[in-house]
Symmetry: C2
Subunit: 297 residues, 2 copies
């Protein structure tokens, strides 16, 4: 048992298995979740559950967060910071705006605490198997302080630079994830409209120069019409909103990402935002062409 | 030595190593190339070189072609068919329009010959190592007649349906290849503009949900600024022209492909059409934003 006391905030699809990995690795862990239903199983498993964020803050040396939007992270940190012992390290696994991450780090530093932005990739499968990749932004000392614990659920946890750079790397990752999704869905929808065997297309294309993680993992989901997330349309669009905002700020061109976001927006407007992002295939494979790429012509 | 006599037309980046694989497998092979410079090394290696397409046609039972555009294939076939023995099988490895492939098949059938559309994927590396994937469209008997020879340079050679379907599958493949290229270049260019270490980004992203053949094979080329093709911008745009034409015909939406084609068009207009398609990264990473994704706003 490690003498350092850990907190974990946010027991969702990603956070719950991550918190359990910390417990299984023998660490002292106290958890908290906004809706108590998600804490209940932890209590039943013999894991400490805090009654509130201020109480949790007073109990821990390092607190991990895995919530959703920028404002959720800000809200949790603001509730905890005044009640935390000096030098508490907050490690945020949520995907949020890089600028907000930098602001949180500055505010916490001014209050005598530390902060690491540490967004994750690898999906719910990666969280469950403990094979996530983590992009860490912040001071080297804070990264080194967090690393032994991150290893409980990560196959890789690399520092990529100062505060906010973890989020920047995550946005670069989401741009590539979105493009890979588009490549998969657009090619399989083309194959379907061409009258080809879509399962054969998935399998043949996956083995060559078109191959990708998306072909291997989302391809079979598409073939079995399994639209349970995984990664929901709503959450992918949340990440894209940060990509688009940040691309504007740094003068980066992300026309492919804009296309995927526009298509996913259409699915969200149809009320399908809670379904898996690979539902994009279904949109592209509909009989009517869903997207006019020729503009005003 | 097999008693079936083979011909091979088109000794370019792909065709030359493929023809050599047939020779090495012990088959009787006669080659021909439009520009004689590319035939000369074959002659020096002790391989039969035909002086013209009509002469080649009279010498072979099965003739493989690996040239470029639809019109090149039509021209070669028209030069050979009248001089070929009845029942000659033509196997075309070029990427051409599916409708043209069907037309060639019908015309050859009417003249007592056979035709298989058999476009390839796996790049120059795949041709050299003999690990191409081949998408075959045509009659089952013709596929079975060609298969033992295709194995000389293919790790997989699957029949995907009747005449023209090999080309359709290749176009689906090119749509996915284009999307994967966009995902790679757009995310790495974003990482560069964000001030991240691009080599670290390439390596970290390749290992997670953003991973792809493109990240593994084009990523290192981008980092070393090696723009030698591989797969040239001009040839990728040639394939996209068939994708766009065919998508229109079958009412398929390929907005991601349109984005990649528009960007590659810009590079071609700059006179860089002979360079590798992953030069797309360089375009996206330029200081000025090269592409206005907001339309008229």
């Amino acid at each position: 048992m490690n003498s350092i006391k850990l907190g974990f905030v946010g027991l969702g699809t990603m956070g719950a298995p991550m918190a359990r990995h910390l417990v299984r690795a023998g660490h002292h862990v106290t958890v908290w979740n906004r809706s108590p239903e998600k804490s209940a199983p932890f209590l039943a498993e013999g894991i400490l559950v805090a009654p509130s964020l201020p109480v949790l803050a007073g109990e821990v040396d390092i607190c991990f967060l895995c919530v959703n939007r920028s404002e959720d992270v800000v809200e949790c940190i603001e509730a905890m910071a005044p009640h935390a012992a000096p030098g508490t390290l907050f490690v945020d696994h949520s995907t949020i705006a890089p600028g907000i991450a930098r602001k949180i780090q500055q505010d916490l530093f001014a209050e005598g605490h530390s902060f690491l932005d540490a967004p994750i990739t690898g999906g719910s499968m990666g969280a469950q198997s403990g094979t996530l990749t983590i992009f860490c932004g912040g001071a080297i000392a804070d990264y080194e302080r967090a690393l032994p614990f991150l290893k409980a659920y990560a196959k890789r946890a690399e520092r990529v630079g100062g505060s906010g750079t973890g989020q920047m790397m995550k946005l670069a990752n989401q741009i590539a994830v979105g493009g890979a999704l588009q490549a998969l869905c657009e090619s399989l929808a083309f194959a379907k409209k061409a009258g080809l065997d879509v399962a054969q297309a998935r399998e043949l294309l996956a083995g060559g120069a078109a191959g990708s993680w998306a072909f291997d993992h989302y391809g079979p989901k598409i073939l079995s019409e399994d639209w349970t997330p995984g990664f929901s349309i709503k959450n992918q669009r949340k990440d894209f909103s940060y990509c688009i905002e940040e691309a504007e700020a740094i003068d980066a061109a992300i026309p492919g990402t804009i296309v995927v976001d526009t298509l996913l927006e259409q699915l969200e407007e149809e009320g399908q935002g809670e379904l898996a992002s690979c539902l994009l295939y279904e949109l592209l494979a509909r009989v009517e062409k869903p997207y006019d790429e020729s503009g005003d012509e």
